[in-house]
Amino acid sequence: MSAGAAGWLQAGLLVVALVAVHRPLGDWMARVFTSPRHGRVEKLVYRAVGVDADAEQRWPTYLRSVLAFSLVSVLFLYLLQRLQSLLPWSNGMPAVESGSAWNTAVSFVTNTNWQGYAGESTMGHLVQMAGLAVQNFLSAAVGLAVAVALVRGFARTRTDRLGNAWVDITRAVTRVLLPLSVLAAVVLVLGGVVQNLSAGTDATTLGGASQFLPGGPVASQEAIKQLGTNGGGFYNANSAHPFEGPSAWISLFQVFLMLVIPFSLPRTFGRMVGDKRQGLAIVGVMATLATASLALNSWAQARAGGAALQLAGAATEGQEVRFGGPLSALFGTATTLTSTGATNSLHDSYTPTGGLLTMANMMLGEVAPGGVGSGLYGMLVLAVIAVFVAGLMVGRTPEYLGKKLGGREMTMASLYVLTTPAIVLIGTAVAMATAAGRGSMLNTGSHGLSEVLYAFTSAGNNNGSAFAGLSANTPFYNTALGLAMAFGRFVPIVLVLALAGRLAQQGRTPATAGTLPTHQVLFVGLLTAVVLVVVGLTYFPALSLGPLAEALS
């Protein structure tokens, strides 16, 4: 089979699987977050934490719960790394250096999983399992909870209650993430992903040399790494490592895992607001952007210039032969469109256009379909912006799902749209203006600039993938990227929950023929354009000096 045909087949299989799963999974999640009943294990958790599971929270309380929970998580993860050498199952690893420990703690709690270190030579099994893997669940659960709170803001009327953050986070873990990742882990083990508690084996290669093969609980972590759109690899080579991504089938399955929850959440949204067509419109925008990005990336990889590349049929540098070009492009597109950041190829080695696209995917705010929860709330905020402009154009105070978008609502939405570009652009500018920032660059010219821009884009959008070519484990980058990740995660959450609180307080304006319909193809096109123009254009100047300059030269 030619590479092209394989690519079509893979993408087709993926679409079929996602279409098949998104309805039952979306409906299931809607039930999870609306059911009044608590599970037995959940009740134990609530009793242990001291939470009244039936008391609903106002948005400030909901926010405080989420922030407090995340802060405690950061502290716990930081201490776990710093005290690693004193704790069991450290595999003899020393304590993690403080800058790196801070960066990693923030990185995993913010669902970013930016890794400034090499996993197999820095973290022992305890940190991997009790620290990183646990955060893979919890950070995804926090994203889900915040998204659900926003959806409740749209679904409810005349109330100041948004639900209970503790209940939402707990249920996200016990009823969604844990069961799904157990299933996924089994598939991964069957597919050849390693799962053991061994410190590693010394093997003799065919050539007679001796090689150390590090083992560990890889499959279990790999499952939630993809499902929770986390992306932090057990190994430094991430999903390109043969123990983490042994075959093309498994790699494709991993792509499916990253996309399955984010693509199902619009269905949950539609269910909860009582109009499934609304969810369909949102998923339509996500799918349009994703398909366009994948098509462009595959095309860019396949038509790469240069005699050697033409001979090979496509750009192949930095790719695993067992995956091939199309699957690498698919994985790279999916990982940057979600907030995963796992990689099965080196984005740094993509053609300039391909690299530009992975960056642009993140810059759009990771909304197509985005991270677990964060993708949905990001897209809904952009929908608010789109509805506002379009709503004015039909001569009414704009309403989305019967909720009026007034000054306060627009303040939250506008600041949301402003936040991430501000973080990314300021971070990049500071790095380029300081010796500490420029000192880590391994490349010069526009490619060097692309690497720094990519790092801040990845951190600010909580993606976690890296362009390589940048020595990021330095005090400057550990601090700056850590801040970018923290602000990039929590400032939007504050705004989203404040918006949700405002929306929930409103009544609902009944829809009439004069109301802007938000479930039609026209709106899908409009929202897609808003994502591209309002968010995308912000980065145009910076891109023109980085990957765009490269691509056009």
Partner: protein
């Protein structure tokens, strides 16, 4: 009801539509360059700051390019100010004529003492006689007079004002033409109707409306984002060896931030109010105008709004052994001297021409007899009137009522009409001849208007004192969605509250004092100028023409205001794409020659490209001023259809137009030596 006030058809105040007066606007625009005023418009303020900087740079490091950019940036600010000044200018002319009406009048109190008009306090009673100007707002408490209100309404036909009832309100500045009235003053000095009108049309009391605030938030946010994008670009450019001059960066910022909509935003708001004023409607707040665009439910009074004020004869129905010709003839005779509109309509329907009734005696309608008619010289007595009264009359004269009368009367009542019984008495016997079918006549064109409203998603409810059956019949004929029959003021209020609880916005008109609570409760309450002070106080708009149908136009103006804002915002944002393609290659193609491929407009030189973008950005503001003032074309249609059209025109148009515009400007600019 207003409809009882006989007036010629109303024509709107002559409009100063001739064109835009650019001269005075320019003066106003220059005055507005004061930054203290500009802070209110963040987008324009950023341009102002940029202009100051680029001027300083042009002074310290003179170059033709630097000066041209500085000049065009100042022009951008100036054009933005012109838009506002033009909009305000229109109001100023109107305010001036209103001020004339207000000038120093001296009030004469009841005891004969004189008080200057500005010193009048609420509660004081003043006497106004023919030829005098009413010194302040108030209610007539004694007497009746005809009043010339043309100073306020632009309407020259005098109106009647009398104590008690719904026609007691007089407005300061109007002139009493006949008789003498005593007016109890109701307004504080400086807060009279005329004062408020002046403030409104001048835009002095203009406060930002909710939608304007929300839009301003979005625009400010976009401004900050683009400001950041450009500020952070410099370190990247320095690293890339393509450091940019501050002038170029300022030019880039000004081109990217939404200057078009930022510049036109307040002009659009002022013009929206102005459009209402031109239709003789005064909105007490911009908020009310916006609310009008959002209205879901219109409460319309039946009489005067949906139907002509008076019932008209529609047919004659003979009963018993009478023939149609007989009935027609009798109805004609009975109504010849009847000057009521119903009477005249019967004459018209009969169509029998002039007849000599020498010696006939007209019997007028009284509340006791509830009949009218004529006693002819030949001894015949013709009577027409309410069914019950006429039957009693016939029986009292020994006549019989044919059995088919009841059926005919019921049929007419069921169809929403009013049955009038026609009877004749002669030679000692009396008999019922037939029934005259009087019906409410729906104003021409109303059905189509309600159809339009339905397409816009607006529900119409007819308010009437008629019974349910009659009301339904008229509603069906007029194409009204719902009725509130046998409505009391309390019912009206309850209906409004119910609609609002369901999340709907309600608009209504009213004139009587008992309408006041409902007017105050409604989101858009339009009081008729002929109405009472209480009604005018309670509503948030006053229609000087007292034309209840105008509510529909008000809704359209509200919508048009929002559409204009939304469309120009879309246009403004869509413009950015072309500007990027003009400016970015100009900035960086020197270092990265590949970026010249983005120069798809093939602009002559980096300087000409940047200058062209700035010039386009400035000129587009002026070009759009007429559109901002006039408002985007609005045709009632569904939201989807409207969105599709406006997206196509202002979204797609906004992407394409600047490519063409910048290219054309570049062709001219590149002729300047030293730029190409």
């Amino acid at each position: 009801m207003t409809a009882t006030l006989e007036r010629p058809p109303v024509e709107s105040r002559p409009q100063q539509r001739a064109g835009i007066e650019w001269g005075p606007a320019l003066v106003g625009a220059v005055r507005k360059l004061d930054p203290r005023g500009l802070v209110r418009q963040p987008v324009v303020f950023v341009v102002w700051v940029g202009s100051v900087f680029s001027t300083v740079l042009a002074l310290t490091d003179p170059s033709l390019f630097g000066w041209l950019i500085a000049v065009w940036l100042w022009l951008t600010v100036l054009f933005a100010n012109i838009a506002e000044a033009v909009a305000e200018g229109r109001g100023k002319a109107q305010a001036a004529s209103l001020r004339n009406a207000r000038t120093s009048t001296v009030a004469v109190l009841e005891d004969g003492s004189e008080v200057p008009a500005p010193d009048l306090r609420p509660g004081m009673r003043v006497v106004v006689v023919a030829g005098q100007v009413v010194p302040g707002d108030g209610d007539v408490v004694e007497g009746i007079a005809s009043v010339d209100e043309s100073a306020i309404t632009g309407e020259s036909a005098p109106v009647i004002r009398e104590s008690g009832g719904d026609r007691s309100a007089v407005t300061g500045g109007t002139t009493v033409l006949s008789d003498r009235i005593v007016v109890q003053i109701t307004s504080k000095p400086g807060e009279t109707f005329v004062d408020r009108m002046i403030a409104l049309v001048e835009g002095a009391s203009r406060q930002r409306t909710p939608n304007e605030i929300a839009l301003n938030t979005l625009l400010s946010s976009l401004t900050i984002v683009f400001l950041l994008a450009v500020v952070t670009l410099q370190p990247l450019a320095i690293y890339s060896g393509a450091e940019q001059s501050i002038t170029v960066l300022i030019a880039l910022v000004v081109c990217l931030i939404p200057t078009t909509i930022g510049a036109l935003l307040s002009a659009i708001g002022i013009a929206g109010m102005d459009r209402l004023v031109q239709r003789n409607v005064l909105a007490m707040s911009g908020r009310a105008v916006e609310a009008a665009g959002d209205v879901n439910t219109l409460l319309l009074d039946k009489t005067g709004t949906i139907t002509l004020g008076n019932r008209q004869a529609a047919s004659f129905v003979p009963v018993g052994d009478a023939t149609l010709a007989e009935v027609t003839d009798a109805a004609h005779l009975a109504s010849l001297s009847d000057e009521t509109p119903e009477g005249r309509s019967i004459v018209t329907l009969a169509g029998l021409g002039e007849r000599d009734l020498g010696g006939a005696e007209f019997v007028p309608f009284t509340a006791q007899t509830r009949m009218s008619g004529v006693d002819l010289p030949d001894g015949r007595q013709l009577r027409k009137g309410a069914a019950g009264s006429v039957q009693t009359w016939v029986r009292s004269l020994g006549g019989a009522v044919p059995p088919d009368v009841a059926g005919a009367v019921d049929t007419i009542a069921a169809s929403g009409g009013t049955p009038l019984l026609l009877a004749v008495a002669s030679g000692g016997s009396a008999r019922v001849l037939g029934v005259i079918h009087l019906k409410d006549v729906v104003k021409p064109g109303m059905r189509e208007r309600f159809e339009e409203l339905r397409r816009m998603g607006i529900r119409t409810v007819m308010i009437t004192g008629d019974n349910e059956r009659t009301a339904r019949a008229i509603a069906a004929e007029a194409g009204i969605d719902d009725v509130l029959a046998e409505a009391t003021p309390e019912d009206k209020l309850a209906l409004i509250v119910k609609e609002q609880d369901g999340g709907r916005l309600v608009a209504m008109t009213g004139d009587g004092t008992n309408d006041a609570p409902a007017l105050a409760q409604a989101d858009v309450g339009v009081a008729m100028n002929t109405g009472t002070s209480a009604a005018k106080e309670a509503g948030n708009m006053v229609d000087l023409d007292s034309d209840p149908t105008k509510l529909i136009e008000i809704v359209e103006i509200g919508k048009q205001l929002l559409i204009t804002r939304g469309s120009l915002t879309t246009f403004s944002i869509a413009n950015d794409l072309a500007k990027y393609f003009a400016i970015l290659p100009a900035m960086f193609a020197g270092v990265f020659p590949g970026l010249d491929r983005l120069n798809i407009m093939r602009l002559a030189s980096p300087e000409s490209a940047i200058l062209s973008a700035v010039v386009f950005n400035a000129l587009i503001i002026v070009a759009l001023v007429p559109l901002a003032l006039r408002g985007v074309r609005y045709r009632p249609s569904s939201a989807s259809a409207m969105l599709r059209r406006n997206l196509l025109v202002y979204g797609v148009g906004g992407v394409v137009l600047p490519f063409v515009g910048i290219k054309l400007i570049d062709l001219l600019v590149s002729l300047i030596p030293g730029i190409a």
